[in-house]
Subunit: 374 residues, 2 copies
């Protein structure tokens, strides 16, 4: 892409005639996935990389939409000469099913009722998200991806892909992620969901065209933002700085910058994201358990991809020990794994911020994967 | 106390004629403090220990009230032969002003209107809480405490006492606490406050005798509980255990034990605590900054007490580094400080749970302080 080219989202619809059966047993169809591609698919179709986004992300990973204020969420990592070098690779990013950024989700029209699904939308799992993206990759004519990669929720999808479709991917990059959601991760999500579901305007998910559950969604985003930062990064950025006043107000209005920041980020989120999608996607994360009663080493048995796994020292939402367990499980199965914990103060957000360190690791890894081909 | 004796709360009222001027400049009076005492004050009145409670605690620190289901919040630490040995010491614990456990707070009757204060209650600071408890200690005839001690919020009060009344205390025990509230601590409180204040039943604090802001207070307590536990203790206690079902429900009802636990603890809190008191006390914590623009080493200059400071390795709400800063500041001023970080998985809750380790340290410290008297 040159600076004058804008990126555009494309749409792929499938399961129009025969609905898709989800992990829960529920059926859904048709399904549309919003997606974007960057770079060019080579003739042998061997340079495809599938990037998975995090909970509130979308298909616009790189480049900028016409009229948009900001570039895609991983624009500093995807592009010519960048970590995912679009001069070499064909990069695809699709919005997950259940989201509100162009793919079929609870705000989409239910073909049965011609009204928004709301809570009639079926529960989606990480497995379902992965399976639906396989339809897209098949549609794009890619039999085997060079790599699938993602941070946070995106990492769960990438890991899931290597297990569901071991012959369809050569390598996998997992960043700031996990192989099963833990009690604390579930707890933090459940509080966020309760914030939304106890907002009277949520109305059991039926609020489209009416007043939005803005209060609940704002609260839930405020909680989220605290978990995405580290104690240290919050202290460095805000400390006890006051907002628009020289001394504390001795009342319950906003005193501190950190309060003002969270309220602002919470309230702008209401314009950007659908409360029901937040419920569905957070639930998909909480349901994610690669083991489901089996031994981790057994579950990882069929994996053929090689791995790069990255964590960040101050990420308390997805702490490093969780990835280290996964590294051990992969090594036990003789899977080729490179693991690095990057020293960073940015907490979970580091996967969006620590560009230089990640870029070096990813470039090196992708070059190695390409060169080791027979 | 023998097992047949129940403890009883006593009440001390002051500022009846001349109202008390608070740090904010607001005035309040009369002020009642609920308090309890354990053990016997010796003739020289030199064995008094003042214990400060945490945010949601009360005067009933030890022993059991008649008809109560549980003993006081630190009963495992206060009593004959225990850390705070009531065979040797006279232990006092008072409910802070602003709380709802017997002391004057937002639920109390405003003498001007004869109605509950609600938001007409003035903002209370840690300094105000400390000053009001000095009235009680004077009333009890204790010129100089052997020790003041507290965990979490209680630690802030203990530290504040050593600075406001350096001649009225010989030693100070600070547990799992801080000397100024940090951005993350403020952020977590602000989300909790917003949960309460956006509940329509909160009604700008005027809900007494009406429907309570139960939803908001429940949410705020759920957030609190997550911060009081460590990632590891949550994982050990709950992991991914399901609640009353054999497999996940693929819906938005309660799936996991950790969700059920938080909801239960949240909802029972509504019967135990007043939402407005939660606002006032959390705000007092957030306003707490011992330095207020000055250098920590300067602020600590006048301290005469010797210190025991304890933190817990997995406490991410009041991380050890904050206490270590304080230790350095005290040592710079030639204050006698013993500091220990106890290895514990219980997170911030450890100060209520790690009885053996704390008891050893506290017993030894109090014996040393008593023996070093001239």
């Amino acid at each position: 892409m040159t600076s004058k080219n804008y990126t555009e989202t494309q749409y792929f619809t499938f399961a129009e005639d025969t609905p898709l059966t989800l992990k829960s047993g529920a059926k859904i169809g048709p399904v549309t996935l919003a997606y974007e591609t960057y770079g060019t698919l080579n003739q042998s179709k061997s340079n495809g990389i599938l990037i998975f986004h995090a909970l509130t992300g979308g298909a616009n990973a790189a480049g900028q939409h016409k009229g948009a204020k900001k570039p895609g969420w991983w624009d500093n990592m995807i592009g010519p000469g960048k970590a995912f070098d679009t001069d070499k690779y064909f990069v695809v990013c699709a919005n997950v099913i259940g989201s509100c950024k162009g793919s079929t989700g609870p705000a989409s029209t239910d073909p049965k009722t011609k009204k928004p699904y709301g809570l009639n939308f079926p529960i989606i799992t990480i497995e379902d998200m992965t399976v639906t993206q396989k339809y897209l990759i098949d549609h794009l004519g890619i039999e085997k991806l060079l790599c699938c990669a993602g941070g946070s929720m995106g990492g769960l999808l990438a890991l899931q892909w290597t297990i569901l479709f071991p012959d369809s991917v050569e390598s996998c990059i997992l960043i700031a992620t996990n192989y099963k959601h833990t009690a604390q991760q579930i707890a933090l999500h459940e509080v966020s969901r309760q914030a939304i579901m106890t907002d009277p305007h949520w109305n059991n998910g039926d609020y489209y065209g009416k007043k939005l559950p803005a209060t609940g969604l704002t609260l839930s985003r405020m909680i989220g933002h605290i978990t995405y930062m580290s104690e240290e990064s919050m202290e460095k950025k805000f400390g006890r700085k006051l907002q628009g006043k020289e001394k504390v107000g001795y009342d319950f209005t906003t005193d501190f910058e950190v309060e003002s920041y969270l309220k602002y980020r919470g309230s702008t989120f209401v314009d950007e994201f659908d409360a029901n999608s937040y419920l569905y996607l957070s639930k998909a994360l909480d349901y994610f358990d690669l083991c489901e009663g089996k031994k981790l080493t057994d579950v990882l048995k069929g994996i053929k991809a090689e791995f790069l796994i990255i964590t960040f020292s101050s990420d308390w939402l997805y702490p490093s020990y969780q990835s280290k367990d996964l590294v051990r499980g992969l090594k036990f199965n003789n899977v080729d794994v490179s693991y690095l914990e990057i020293e960073s103060n940015y907490g979970h957000d580091a996967f969006l911020v620590e560009v230089d360190n990640q870029s070096k690791l990813i470039k090196h890894f992708l070059t190695k994967v390409t060169q080791s081909r027979k």
